[in-house]
Amino acid sequence: MGEASAVTMAAPPWQRWRSLAEAGLPFAALIVMLAVIIDIRPAVFSYFGFTLLFKLTTPLILAALGQMLIIMLGDIDLSNGSFVGLVTCITALFLTDNPGLAVAAYVALVLAYAAFGLLIHLRALPSIVVTLGMSFIWLGAAVMLLPAPGGLAPGWLSGFMDWRPPLLPLPIWAAIVVALAGHLVITRSSYGTILRGTGDNPRATARAGWSVVAIRVAVYAAAGGLGVLAGLTLTGLTTSGDANIAPAYTLIGVSAVILGGGSFTGGIVSPVGTVAGALVLSLAGSLLSFLQVSPTWQVGAQGGILFLILAGRVLLREVPQ
């Protein structure tokens, strides 16, 4: 035996189990909540029921994944929600009559995100304030474009969001596909490895010859891209644009990433976990409504659910060393 191995090199089996259990936590929470809901209202357990229950999760999942990319770099994005709002405004205003303009606007937005990423990197700025500033910029731009809710999503877009694919409802398919794609790109692929590595130790990847600037810019651009997709799907669902529609996505997205096993220290994120986390959080709201919690305690109960689920994560982690 090597000298070091005495203390143990290979992770012991319980550690593997623990990390598996930890990864499974959002799924367990999801299943428990679903079970409670179905128990209260068996009719939910149907194609139609699941369609309605999960309908609004698609944009949330996309936004949360965008947030996840930023958290992967050790940053945080406080502008995510208002960005989605801006995209809904652009979509509802232009996509129907002037698709070229709309697409150009999306590209410009993604570039803007990338540019802010570049600024954060070059000046080593705290992302929390820069993205706070960005949130004002997006919201301001959205209000300038659409001073009050309105506009109309193109028919094909709302049509697509109403589409009833075989076997499973659209939002569930979307969740599966997005989670899988995220898993392949971020967790499995060789380039995802570089991204995660950079989040943990940018110096190490830089020393291995990767351009950390390029990585940050690309990741911010990708986060912007996911924000655009979130805005598009949201417009499809609501059929209109509204500057103030999604500020809540910011903090829900952050919570979803953490719930899904992510960490603010950077480099540790799970796309599958994030998707599950987003589903759990949106289901938490539903659960409260099914449980008919009194209006006074509806907000507080949401805090309670957050504690419950995340505390489970901690209990698993607290296995003695």
């Binding site: 080593a124 700025l125 301001g140 309670g304 995340l310």
Partner: protein
């Protein structure tokens, strides 16, 4: 290890004051010099509240990377509600009300830290979850009405001596005290040490847990104090009275020169940033920009300031 030091001629915290001054000049150049004093007084009066909550937030942020308190608005509201109900608009009970508010704030802060330390939740999540709970408590304690302050409290928060509002003066004194505490007390040093490196602080004999607990408790206490005074200043405790302070408390701290990486606190800078924030709103209103443009310019200015202010960076 390396430090990047851009030879700044001015300390980082001074930029808020400079920009605030510039905004003030721009504003009064549009409205005429006779308005200068009035604008300043109005700004300072509201900046005082931002400084109170910002100072609490600063203690938390300085206590280590990732530490942040999102429950400030709901603590403000809850404390104000409980204090106002305790006082029943009776002048004799103002100190009781103050004690109630501070007690609520300190307990709330302690609960925040308990969730962070015992459940190992990231502070952003722990304080968010608590803020939901506090909000429900506030609703439960009479959310259907605005609770009035005793006349003495209302009068003292708006009291002026020789035209100068007294409350901001008191907050300036508080800022000075906090500066001394940070530099010259065991708590202050311990806080900054814990904020720079938790492990190094532990091994250097710092009681990291206690120090963080106190940081959160003080943050809760200051938030509660702000809520109590704001209720006096604006004529009552209302459910949504604290909402604007969620992001503002963070922004004034960071724009004031405190590092989000922890271990570095700047109390005086909060004043500069708070003045900047309030004057910005005033200037944009004065020039009657559209709402969208106002928001847009606010964002641009925030980013411009953080991007331009030189800041010390220490990276291991």
């Amino acid at each position: 290890m390396s430090t990047v030091r851009i030879g700044p001629l001015l300390p980082p915290w001074s930029y808020g004051f400079i920009v605030a001054f510039a905004l003030w000049i721009v504003t009064i150049s549009a409205t005429g010099p006779s308005r200068a004093g009035g604008t300043l007084v109005a700004t300072v009066a509201f900046a005082a509240f931002s400084v109170l909550v910002g100072t609490g937030q600063m203690l938390v942020i300085a206590s280590g990377p990732g530490n942040i308190d999102l429950s400030i608005p709901s603590v403000m509201t809850l404390a104000a509600y409980l204090a106002m109900s305790a006082m029943h608009e009776s002048d004799g009970l103002v100190f009781l009300g103050l004690a109630v508010a501070l007690g609520v704030g300190v307990v709330a802060g302690a609960l925040n830290y308990a969730a962070i330390a015992l459940l190992r939740l990231p502070p952003i999540i722990a304080t968010l979850a608590w803020s939901f709970v506090f909000q429900s408590f506030a609703i439960d304690f009479g959310g259907e009405a605005t609770l009035k302050p005793p006349p003495v409290l209302a009068a003292s928060t708006t009291f002026r001596a020789a035209g100068i509002p007294i409350l901001p003066g008191a907050v300036v004194v508080l800022t000075l005290i906090v500066m001394v505490v940070l530099r010259r007390t065991v708590f202050g040093r311990s806080l900054l040490a814990a904020g720079q490196s938790e492990r190094a602080a532990y091994l250097a004999g710092v009681e990291v847990g206690w120090v963080r607990l106190w940081a959160y408790a003080l943050c809760g206490g200051l938030g509660a104090l702000a809520g109590y005074l704001l209720a006096g200043f604006t004529g009552g405790a209302a459910l949504n009275m604290g909402d604007i302070y969620l992001m503002e408390s963070i922004a004034v701290v960071v724009l004031g020169g405190t590092s989000v990486a922890g271990g570095d606190a700047n109390a005086i800078g909060i004043w500069g940033a708070a003045l900047f924030f309030n004057l910005l709103g005033i200037m944009l209103n004065t020039f009657r920009f559209q709402a969208g443009v106002r928001l847009f310019l606010t964002g641009v200015l925030i980013i411009a300031i953080v991007a331009l202010v030189p800041h010390a960076r220490a990276r291991a």
